[in-house]
């Protein structure tokens, strides 16, 4: 992508994802590159700088890799279409090591050293929670793609937003109508015994109750457990649906042992794709999942009725019909979550344009412009589906997918309505001072 002067030229439509993303070397003088002629009509041709707080190493690295790919694809698409406010977008990656303390440090670096316009892209909730105070202190907008309920709980601060992915409380709640109507009325939950499992433990029963169904047993499994057979006798015999949200390396063992426990005569199974993100659904040990159902944020497998926007998104990110990397079929994506990076960047674009954003001095205007957003229509910018946005709690609400494991693939059998996942706001960020 280098022109004859050795500068890399953003005006070429063939801009590779690599140059778009690796972009900012510390102090690299991009603004003087000849390629920026194209943006010269804008008041400033300097790039919009997005600080990508990325899980490049540590426990989140498998997700981080796909978040990076999706972000690169979105930035390329945005730049190909003229950037934001006529300015190119540049992403600076800092690795947070999936470490909350390091995360806060990285936010500080973005604000004071790299002087980015915003911070973006965090997935792991403990890193979000650890970094949010630093963002608030530096008064730098912090757009996370975490699906945690922490943003909507209004326990963070006014600078933290989650406009690209529905939070877990809404996801769980929106599953209840379908489960009660199609899977069964007597539900037993099996979940890991820590915060992640507690979301499901706490949010599902009231949602099911409202649909005339009941959680009849809750089985909490210690997080360090690697064999599960001894817990299965606790599942009540009258159980019609097993709702499982196990995570970690022992998931395959869990499914295999559950299969051995039940044989061919099993209750309905309902799970969350969080258990098997980046894992091939056809892996040995998972045979027992055939015919069972899963929540999916965005479908891993291409569906017959995929919209043009969904097809374009998949092609841009580089995932094949099975949801794996094009050219590397064993590299299964984190499809249920990574679309949030794409959509969040388009929300940032919209909010910056609404605010007439010029630079870090306009960060407060950007916060208010984001809070003023109310809905995002399905389309190339929001390929996962339509969403509403609640500016008071800084959280978006979208449709969810329920998919059936069938013939070694996940087939979407139901799409929830946005209303299925709405709940009473727990606070109001807009009352906080900027």
């Amino acid at each position: 992508m280098a022109d004859k002067n050795g500068f890399f030229d953003l005006s070429k439509t063939t801009l590779s994802r690599r140059t778009a993303l690796k972009g900012l070397a510390a102090g690299a003088g991009l603004a003087v590159a000849p390629g920026f002629v194209r943006y010269s009509q804008a008041q400033s041709s300097a790039p919009i700088k997005i600080g990508f707080q990325s899980h490049r190493t540590g426990i989140g690295a498998a997700y981080g890799r796909w978040y990076e790919k999706t972000t690169a694809a979105a930035v390329k698409a945005i730049n190909d279409a003229g950037g934001i406010n006529g300015r190119p977008v540049e992403v600076i990656i800092e690795d947070d090591g999936t470490d909350p303390a390091r995360g806060a440090e990285v936010v500080g670096k973005f604000a004071s050293q790299h002087k980015t316009d915003i911070v973006f892209g965090t997935l792991f909730s403990h890193v979000v929670i650890g970094s949010a105070p630093a963002a608030g202190e530096a008064k730098i907008p912090y757009f996370v793609v975490s699906e945690g309920h922490h943003v909507a709980s209004t326990k963070l601060n006014r600078y933290v937003f989650q406009p690209g992915i529905t939070d877990v409380k809404s996801q769980i709640q929106s599953m209840a109508p379908w489960i009660a109507a199609n899977a069964g009325k007597k539900v037993t939950q099996i979940f890991p015994d820590f915060a992640f499992g507690y979301d499901h433990r706490d949010y599902l029963p009231p949602a099911l109750k409202a649909q005339g169904a009941d959680v009849i047993a809750q089985i909490a499994i210690p997080p360090t457990e690697s064999s599960f057979t001894k817990y299965f006798p606790q599942i009540p015999a009258e159980t019609e649906v097993i709702y499982h949200v196990m995570v970690g390396p022992a998931v395959l063992t869990f499914v295999k042992e559950l299969g051995e426990f039940y044989g061919s005569n099993r209750p309905q199974l309902f799970g969350f794709m969080d258990s098997l993100e980046a894992t091939d659904i056809n892996s040995p040990g998972l045979e027992f999942l055939d015919g069972s159902h899963f929540w999916e944020g965005s479908p891993r497998y291409a569906q017959p009725d995929d919209s043009a926007a969904q097809k374009a998104y998949r092609a841009a990110v580089g995932i094949d019909d099975n949801g794996a990397a094009v050219g590397d079929p064993k590299d299964v994506s984190t499809a249920s979550h990574m679309f949030g990076c794409w959509e969040t960047l388009y929300v940032v674009k919209k909010a910056m344009e609404d605010a007439g954003y010029k630079g870090p001095e306009d960060r407060a205007k950007l916060v208010e412009a984001t809070e003023a957003l109310t809905e995002f229509a399905e389309g190339p910018e929001h390929p996962q589906g339509p969403k509403t946005f609640n500016g008071k709690i800084h959280q978006c609400f979208g449709i969810q997918n329920i998919s059936k494991v069938e013939g070694g693939k996940l087939k979407v059998v139901h799409k929830t309505k946005i209303e299925d996942g709405l709940y009473e706001p727990e606070g109001d960020y807009t009352t906080q001072a900027l």
């Binding site: 280098a2 690599r18 140059t19 993303l21 690796k22 972009g23 900012l24 070397a25 510390a26 690299a28 190493t57 540590g58 989140g60 498998a62 997700y63 600076i92 990656i93 800092e94 690795d95 090591g97 999936t98 909350p100 303390a101 390091r102 790299h114 997935l123 909730s125 890193v127 929670i129 699906e147 945690g148 309920h149 922490h150 915060a195 992640f196 507690y198 979301d199 360090t224 690697s226 995570v247 970690g248 390396p249 022992a250 998931v251 395959l252 063992t253 969080d274 258990s275 993100e277 091939d280 892996s283 040995p284 040990g285 794996a324 990397a325 590397d328 064993k330 590299d331 984190t334 979550h337």
Partner: protein, 459 residues
Amino acid sequence: MLPTPAFAHASDRGHVLLLPTGYYVTGGALAVAISFLVLALLPPDALGRFWRRHLPLIAFGDRLRTIVSLVSFAGFVFLIAAGLFGSRDPLSNPLPLVIWTLLWVGLAMLQGLLGDLWSWLNPWYGPWRIISRLIGREDEAQETRPPAWLGCWPAVFLFFAFAWFELIDPAPDDPARLAFAAGLYWLATFIAMLVFGYRGWSRSCEFLTVFFAMVARFALLERNEVERDEDGRLNLCWPGAKLLAAEPLPASGIAFLLLSLSSVSFDGLSKTFFWLGLFSINPLEYPGRTALIGIGSFGLVLTFVLLAAAFFLTVVLGQHLAASRHSFGQATGLLVWSIVPIALAYHVAHYLKALLVDGQYAIAALSDPFALGWNLFGTADMQIEAGVVAGADSAWWLWNLQAGIIIAGHMLAVLVAHGLAWRLHPVPSRAALSQLPLTVLMIAYTVFGLWLLATPTAG
């Protein structure tokens, strides 16, 4: 408390959990035990004669060594500049990828296979030759050598610091942080080499040279020392043959060797559910490196102390069983060489996956070291195939490869220990008896090594 979704993904270890790893552990332990029994029955001199056979290959001198090292130094400077001014992303910046993946994993493997490449590739020798000639200190006789009582304790402490930085520091991959650490270490070492001489300092104080030289003792190639005008001849030899002629190590050398094995063992152990469970840390909600600095530092020291204690105990017991007249120091210093194949096997097995994936990132990053859109080697836009280590099939062959490496490493260790024991105890029955406790330790370490690769881990 705020709700905290976790994304601990099912990971490749999940596939390993479904494999019959218990059989491998039993089989590995048996293989090591049987190697001991077979060796005890073999006539010692026949084995030694066979093992020492070598095939002379070409001979070459040291003329190019300065140039090779200077090129390596230029590359190092380039990488430090990339670390300071290139991409902030540790998977796009070549510095962390070259140091942690190509050097620490890749070169260690090559050293174990091909011999002491580091003595040519290190970034100090060339600059030292030039500067010492300029300031008229080229004559080794003029140099102030490091005092003898220091032994290689500086290398032990520096290696510990290095292991701490790699395994416990919150951000060893951060390009700028690593550039400062590596740059300062180069400079301090270079000054020390000017003061104490290249040979003196690199042999006992520069930890990378000490480590790589140790690993090279295992290699299939050896090169005779260059003497006066005669070129050094390269010989093809059996793995570990060079260990047989090794001199007993002083206490500091023993500590260095044990530390090299205990640190990589701790790297594996620190991520297991077992270890995290001891400190009531939820592995599915892994709190990150910063929160684990205290526990990690403790663990790094603890594994060293435990390994050293176990090793010393087996040597004492063995010497007692054989009614040995050798001093404890001499026996330990000699037998500790049998740890080398184990350390190398652990290193290879443990970092194999990292090499396969991060090695690709390194190749891509080297083409565009400053993130300026360059494509120096035509690899800048190559697709990184992370799938090479993903899925059940990869898990199966990787596990078999790792298990094979661990078991082979321990079998070779038994062989080396056997050869060394003959030097201490020329009477066959005594030699065999003296090794019995050490063999038990090696069987236990085989089991431990396989367990580390099979047990649930965070991340």
